[in-house]
């Protein structure tokens, strides 16, 4: 099987869906001539023309709103947000309009739109170019929230998102953009709302998202022979594939959620809430969240590294949860 980069997988998904459906277009800052700040739309304006690959001024509220209106009237926009932080300038269309209009209209108006953009911790871009917003978005009914960790999932999920009749927030981690992974050719999809067990294990369930999936897999590898770790990547944060997580917890009895977003009032807490409600009897220890520290993303690489859980923090947390050590780790924020 060929290997391609995570970012190439995203570009391929957009190109294939634009070939397949003339209603799909891309809109965002620098997406046309420049090909996007991380080159995700490179070559698309040459192929599809400026009608379908539309660069905009720096006016997030206006162009996110425009995309919403276009989706309300028959098109299927892909909105590229240069940095997800910038989406906050367009919070009115993003939160007050897009996820509410299908409901407020009594189901008469559909908004088949994808808002995609990147974030990431680890590239020293500081607090307004790095933050995780997925926990905000899952708190807003009306969206599907997708957060792929591999090139394979990135491609298959984006194609599903573009074909979905509901608004989808598609969150890319720029730290993963250059990872090369197996991605088959041809036509296939990854369904929204289905988790993937990235590594099977029997002693503890680690639910991890985005870049934390890879760190958790590295931690599982380090612990192999000592503790058998199962790593579950929900891939879609909302709707959440709870049955897959519950099946895993039933097998292992222990649940750790690892994420790079801050741990307070977060996705991990939501996973634990749902597991406690549906599978409390299967838990043999208190479930925990390992997440980012409760401050804005710091700039200095030394601070930034300490800000999010690293492989050694995940290893330590797992050992502690299973009673193999009593050391407290500062990264254990949950």
């Amino acid at each position: 099987m060929r290997k391609i980069m995570y970012r190439t997988a995203i570009t391929e998904a957009m190109r294939e869906e634009m070939e397949r459906d003339g209603r799909v277009f891309i809109i965002g800052e620098d997406v046309d001539l420049f090909g996007g700040v991380y080159k995700l739309t490179k070559g698309l304006v040459e192929k599809f023309g400026p009608r379908r690959v539309r660069g905009t001024p720096i006016s997030e509220a206006a162009f996110i709103g425009l995309a919403a209106g276009a989706a309300m009237t028959g098109l299927r926009p892909i909105v590229e947000i240069m940095y997800m932080d910038f989406a906050l300038v367009g919070m009115d269309p993003l939160v007050n309009q897009i996820p509410k209009i299908p409901y407020m209209s009594g189901g008469q108006v559909k908004i088949p739109l994808v808002v995609r953009g990147q974030f990431g911790v680890g590239t020293a871009e500081a607090a307004q170019h790095s933050q995780h917003l997925e926990s905000w978005f899952i708190h807003t009914p009306g969206y599907k929230v997708v957060m792929p960790s591999t090139a394979y999932d990135a491609k298959g999920l984006l194609k599903s998102a573009i074909r979905d009749d509901n608004p989808v927030l598609y969150l890319e981690n720029r730290v993963l953009y250059l990872r090369k992974e197996d991605v088959p050719e041809g036509e296939w999809l990854v369904p929204i709302g289905v988790a993937d067990v990235k590594r099977e294990g029997s002693d503890i369930t680690v639910v991890a998202t985005s870049n934390a999936v890879h760190k958790s897999l590295a931690a599982a590898e380090q612990l192999a022979g000592e503790i058998s770790v199962e790593v579950v990547d929900p891939r879609t944060l909302d709707p959440l594939d709870l049955p897959t997580i519950l099946r895993s917890v039933k097998k292992t009895g222990h649940l750790l959620v690892v994420q790079e977003g801050v741990a307070g009032a977060c996705f991990g807490a939501e996973v634990i809430r749902q597991v406690v409600r549906e599978g409390f009897g299967d838990l043999e220890s208190a479930p925990r969240v390992l997440g980012a520290r409760d401050v804005p993303v710091p700039f200095s690489p030394v601070l930034e590294r300490a800000y999010v859980p690293q492989v050694e923090d995940i290893v330590a947390a797992i050992r502690r949860m299973l009673g193999r050590t009593r050391n407290e780790s500062p990264a254990d924020t949950g």
Partner: protein, 319 residues
């Protein structure tokens, strides 16, 4: 001008229907039969009717929190409007939206909006969609002097001009943003100039003169259909009622009375009577027909079923 008599009568009829509908809503609200946030359109009827009388059914209208007039002017069924105001399953939005969120896409009504200025970029999107699909549809965004002070108004003027979108910005300059008068919210009262500075041709009209509004709208509609891009119409009008519900708001002494003398409905009535387009007996018949339709609408709404919480309150209900 040269508007045909039939057209003028029909515009008057629509304005009268809006006025009587809103008076009925006010009464029902006072009686507790309608709940929630109610923003009445009384005094602004000439704007909705003047603009929408030039539109086709397939054209898009993006309305506001003060949107009953826009819905009636676009031809929505007052029975289903009334049912929506009462939160019933037969309402225009199946009771999910209420007064501020009337949706009737089959008639081009793409919803009101609870956010001041929130509908402006959405209208750009509908205009973009029409341009993209190669249809001759246009989009109208109604908004207020209050929305003209939102940042998204400026962004949208620029984007509409940049993309040559077939969109018409209709400012209902009703002199008040919630309870703050324009003299306290504009450093410089120049909504049309703001548009022109972004390359959007603009005209300021007497928003209480339905034919003046209609003339300006026809020009803007022609431009949009010919692919000549966006326009703005700044309609000077007056909100005779309080911002919301029946909570009284402060007005300067004599201000409301001065505007009442320029009431768009009375003015048009006098004009059409003077020109013998209408007679008192014709008007009386119109009033009776409207009263009967309104009574039917209220009855329809009150006997309509409530929405089913089981069906409406879970995540997948509209997916």
């Amino acid at each position: 001008m040269g508007l045909r008599a039939e057209k003028r009568k029909s515009m008057f009829g629509r304005m009268l229907l809006i006025r009587r509908f809103e008076e009925e809503v006010k009464k029902l609200y006072q009686e507790g039969r309608i709940v929630g946030a109610i923003h009445l359109y009384i005094g602004q009827e000439a704007v909705a009717v003047g603009v929408s009388s030039g539109l086709k059914k397939r054209d898009y209208v993006f309305s506001t929190h003060r949107g009953h007039g826009h819905a009636i002017a676009k031809g929505c069924d007052i029975k289903r409007m009334m049912a929506e105001l009462m939160g019933r399953d037969t309402g225009l939005s199946r009771g999910h939206g209420g007064s501020m969120h009337l949706y009737d896409p089959a008639r081009g009504l793409m919803g009101g909006n609870g956010i001041v200025g929130g509908g402006i970029p959405l209208a750009l999107g509908a205009a973009f969609s029409a341009q993209y699909r190669g249809t001759d549809q246009i989009a109208v965004t109604f908004f207020s002097d209050g929305a003209a002070n939102q940042g998204v108004f400026a962004e949208s003027l620029n984007l509409a001009a940049l993309f040559h979108l077939p969109v018409i910005f209709v400012c209902e300059n009703n002199q008040y943003a919630a309870t703050t008068p324009v003299r306290r919210s504009f450093a410089k009262m120049a909504i049309a100039q703001r548009a022109e500075s972004y390359g959007v041709p603009a005209e300021t009209v007497d928003g209480n003169d339905v034919e003046a509004v209609h003339d300006a709208a026809l020009k803007a509609i022609r431009r949009a259909r010919r692919g000549e891009g966006p326009s703005l119409i700044d309609c000077e009008t007056y909100r005779l009622e309080p911002h919301c519900g029946i909570i009284p708001d402060q007005r300067e002494r004599g201000e409301r009375e001065a505007w009442r003398a320029k009431d768009p409905l009375s003015r048009y009535k006098e004009k059409l009577l003077a020109e013998r387009i209408l007679t008192p007996s014709k008007i009386e018949k119109m009033e009776k027909d409207i009263a009967r339709e309104l009574a039917k609408a209220v009855k329809f709404a009150e006997i309509s079923p409530w929405p089913d919480p089981e069906a409406a309150l879970h995540k997948e209900c509209l997916v």
